[in-house]
Subunit: 212 residues, 2 copies
DNA sequence: GTCTTCGGTGAACGCTTGTACTCCAGGGTG
DNA sequence: CACCCTGGAGTACAAGCGTTCACCGAAGAC
């Protein structure tokens, strides 16, 4: 990494961390217009401003880099869950807020949500695997969140799993749409649709429970 | 294409069509373990058994090939809709059958459904665009199908769109899971889950309509 | 002040990639 | 019959790829 003018005093670990971050960000950026499998080590190095071989000082391969990005991206996804469960968890008026929270996070961490959506189905095998595993964990986490909501005490574990799966699926799908959206005007439409969707799902879950 | 022994008599157009098919199938196959963007013209040619330059006699580029595969794959998806709407469309007992129909089609056209799932988010730009467009068409098609079912006459157009969007999304998600599934034993579990999911959604739609 | 550690360099390797050319053989057509 | 059309072969090239190796200079440890 070439020394930036005006800030010559950086410790060695600071410099290393800075380059490492640059590599991660650049790779995330390059993968955005297809997939990580189409990203070359040399292109990353070139964009970062280091020589190709210097890449190896930080990661063993693009795939290893990808696993790191998986962790980062899922930190962003978990943050959504955390923010959603923070207010008073009443099953009904939770909905409107949830969608807004999701939209906020997607907007702030656009690259991460896109990364998850892409690499889940089209990443390097190890990365794909890691994403699937993380999604399963998030589904479980959401299931226990739902179980804590008053009125869901007598639900079976299976029902909880199915519902949280459904919610995570449409959460990811909504995130995808928000990312692809031609910026601001279509966004409210997508959010409205997501809210309706979420209502349908929840009303369905409640009524279906009491029916069976 | 090297002449296959024992069937030397093929017209020129037949031979061309045969090579063309081989190219399409090979590309579909190679894209299966990541994405079309990771498939090289040379690799396809090699696997087909022709010299790289001969590829151009059939397609201008891998991307053009991809657009062709999009059409084929969506023929497979539309076939699901066609088979689902064939029996008597009563909203309730339709569900169990639908999931089986989907599973059948996914099993028969595994490669096509995987292709859609992957290239939708991670294909070459033009391919991605084409997939999104086709999905929108399928959503519309499903919406008019639903509108024909007795009991949905007074639904708003927006509600129809939202519901069909939700159904297509979970249809694609289910197909994905079936494809990834460690063959036969997990399949019934996925199908059960999908049925429950579908019931939740439909019950939700019905009840939510009558509530508002 | 000396020695060590280590992020970054630069040249070199063998291989794959897309694409441009010319050429050929054999079926289709007059 | 002779002629053309065309799918495929063969050769060639410049560019990009991942990876190896020896080397350097400055920050950090002592």
């Amino acid at each position: 990494m070439v020394a930036a003018p005006g800030e010559g005093t950086l410790s060695r670990v600071e410099r290393k961390e800075r380059t490492r971050r640059a590599i991660l960000d650049t790779a995330l950026d390059l993968s955005a217009d297809t997939s990580l499998v189409a990203v070359s080590l040399r292109q990353v190095a070139k964009d970062v401003g280091i020589v190709p071989t210097a890449f190896y000082r930080h990661f063993a391969s693009i795939e290893a880099l990808g696993l790191e990005l998986v962790d980062e991206s899922f930190a962003s996804l978990r943050a959504v869950l955390r923010d959603v469960r923070r207010p008073d968890p009443s099953l009904k008026e939770l909905i409107d807020g949830s969608v807004d929270v999701l939209a906020e996070h997607v907007d702030a961490r656009r690259a991460h949500f896109g990364f998850i959506a892409r690499e889940r189905v089209a990443g390097p095998p190890a990365v794909r695997e890691a994403v699937r595993h993380q999604i399963e964990l998030v589904e479980r986490e959401l299931a226990t969140d739902i179980a804590r909501i008053p009125g869901t005490e007598n639900w079976s574990a299976d029902d909880l799993r199915v519902l949280s799966k459904l919610m995570v699926t449409s959460m990811v799908a909504t995130a995808e749409m928000l990312i692809v959206a031609p910026r601001p005007e279509a966004e409210t439409e997508i959010k409205d649709s997501a809210r309706t969707q979420l209502r349908m799902v929840l009303v369905g879950a409640v009524n279906w429970r009491s029916e069976t």
